[in-house]
């Protein structure tokens, strides 16, 4: 009986220069990390959606149709929006369900601080009764004592 020719195992990695191996492994690491960040953000968006529905006293908050996401790294994210008069708004923010990681601050056009959840144990949501329309600046940051880097998500809802 003829014996089969022994197949030589092709070990690409053993033939690769060490530099190339490191390069591929590290690139994979970066790709996986990027994917993981994206998945984390998705999970946090879902957590945040629940906050928009909590304790609404029977009148749901209608989403403004947008998701505000930022990957924060010891920095602040800032944006402007308008709160229309005769409306109650809810701001919900999350960077993970284990703790209240996000600090959000609302400032008026003169830079006066109108509210910061920092004064209320970083409450993950807060409601705002707006009698007259107001252009505001909203600043978001992580509480660095709890988390220094990560995905932060904010949602805005309103009651008619």
């Amino acid at each position: 009986m003829k014996s089969r020719p022994k197949l030589k195992r092709l070990d690409l990695t053993s033939q690769m220069p060490k530099t190339m191996k490191t390069l591929i492994l590290s690139t994979l690491f970066i790709l996986v990390t990027g994917l993981s960040i994206s998945q984390d953000c998705e999970r946090i968006v879902r957590d945040c959606e629940k906050l928009l529905k909590e304790n609404t006293n029977g009148s749901d908050f209608i989403s403004d149709g947008q998701v505000y996401t930022a990957f924060l790294d010891r920095e602040k994210a800032q944006f402007n929006t308008t709160f229309f008069g005769g409306t109650t708004y809810r701001i919900a923010a999350s960077a993970g369900s284990k703790d209240n990681f996000v600090i959000f601050t609302i400032k008026d056009p003169q830079g006066n601080i109108l509210f910061s959840n920092k004064n209320y144990k970083n409450a993950p949501y807060w409601d705002f009764k707006v009698i007259e329309t107001l252009p505001v600046t909203i600043e978001t940051e992580l509480d660095l004592e709890l988390k220094v880097t990560g995905c932060a998500v904010m949602l805005i809802g309103f009651q008619k």
């Binding site: 060490k18 530099t19 490191t22 390069l23 590290s26 690139t27 970066i30 790709l31 990027g34 960040i37 994206s38 984390d40 953000c41 998705e42 304790n55 749901d60 209608i62 989403s63 403004d64 149709g65 947008q66 998701v67 505000y68 996401t69 930022a70 990957f71 924060l72 790294d73 920095e75 994210a77 800032q78 944006f79 402007n80 929006t81 308008t82 709160f83 229309f84 005769g86 109650t88 008026d108 056009p109 003169q110 006066n112 109108l114 509210f115 949501y125 807060w126 409601d127 705002f128 009764k129 009698i131 007259e132 329309t133 107001l134 252009p135 909203i138 949602l155 805005i156 309103f158 008619k160």
Partner: protein, 298 residues
């Protein structure tokens, strides 16, 4: 020794960063390395410049119109029969925003037949834009089941638009997201201007004046996600519109807000006076008509 270790690590980061950067649609901002906010959905070397944009929901203006007991005016809506004529992503995204606002307006007035027609237009454009996940059969079923319950329908619709926005941002299609928001905003101001033209109303005039900040955000978001200069024409038109808005006088006076810890509620007590005369209002109306016409004409 040190040299041999550092070289592959450096090469790795350059290569990894390059691979990620291939997926982004926003190449204009890659120079802004020193900015504050990192987009989790973009590459490690693709930073967007510390800005998040927020455009108030157009549904809020529809709620205001309804609260003023103004009758429903179907002639103001964009013709739903033209939906098939929008063939580019650019036109589809802008007109999705426009039809979305029309859908909200007709829903609030319990216009069942009109609502179903505009739902169909929204469904067609979301499908064309690959947003079926947000406007899937489950959403359509629930929306139809709630027909007549306008608050529930608005809630479902707003949630679907939020899911679409999230999907687009995750998929690095922020330019499409920006165009949808822009279309929605333009349609809400168009409807407000037309209704005010028919019968002048203090609340509507004020609401139009209150859009100054939103217009500024709209221009910035279009500039930020301006793929290949595709938004240039629209930006120029909106900047011209901004010149009219700049003529509106706004006087803000601070007053300390009041917070109830138990209710998790803060009430704002400031005042904001808005002066907008007929000439400015007419200018805004004329410019909005032209901008909208350029969008809705296929």
């Amino acid at each position: 020794m040190k040299k041999t270790l550092l070289k592959p690590v450096f090469l790795t980061f350059v290569c990894g960063a390059f691979l990620f950067s291939c997926t982004t649609d926003n190449q204009d901002n890659q120079d802004n390395i020193d900015n504050e906010v990192f987009d989790p959905n973009s590459s490690l070397n693709t930073v967007f410049d510390g800005k998040i944009f927020s455009i108030p929901s157009p549904v809020q203006t529809a709620y205001l119109i309804k609260s003023l007991d103004l009758p429903f005016d179907g002639t103001l809506l964009n013709d739903d029969k033209t939906v098939g004529e929008y063939v580019t992503d650019y036109k589809q995204a802008l007109n999705l925003g426009i039809y979305g606002t029309d859908l909200g307006y007709s829903t609030l007035y319990d216009q069942k037949n009109v609502t179903m027609r505009y739902l169909s237009s929204v469904e067609k454009l979301t499908s064309e834009l690959g947003l079926d996940a947000a406007f899937d059969t489950s959403f359509l079923k629930r929306f139809e089941e709630n027909n007549g319950e306008e608050d529930s329908m608005i809630l479902l619709m707003s949630d679907a638009f939020r899911q679409a926005d999230n999907f687009l941002k995750q998929a690095n299609r922020k330019s499409t997201s920006a165009l949808i928001l822009t279309g929605g905003w333009i349609e809400s101001i168009y409807i407000a201007c037309q209704l005010n033209e028919k019968k002048s109303n203090t609340d509507i005039r004020r609401r139009i004046g209150e859009q100054k900040q939103s217009l500024n955000s709209i221009i910035k978001i279009l500039q930020e996600y301006n793929k290949g200069g595709s938004n240039d024409g629209l930006i120029a038109e909106l900047e011209d519109l901004e010149e009219s808005f700049d003529k509106i006088n706004m006087t803000y006076e601070y007053a300390a807000p009041e917070t109830s810890k138990e209710e998790k509620l803060t009430t704002f007590h400031h005042t904001l006076d808005i002066e907008i005369d007929d000439v400015i209002l007419n200018e805004i109306k004329t410019k909005i008509e032209a901008i909208r016409s350029n969008i809705t004409n296929a």
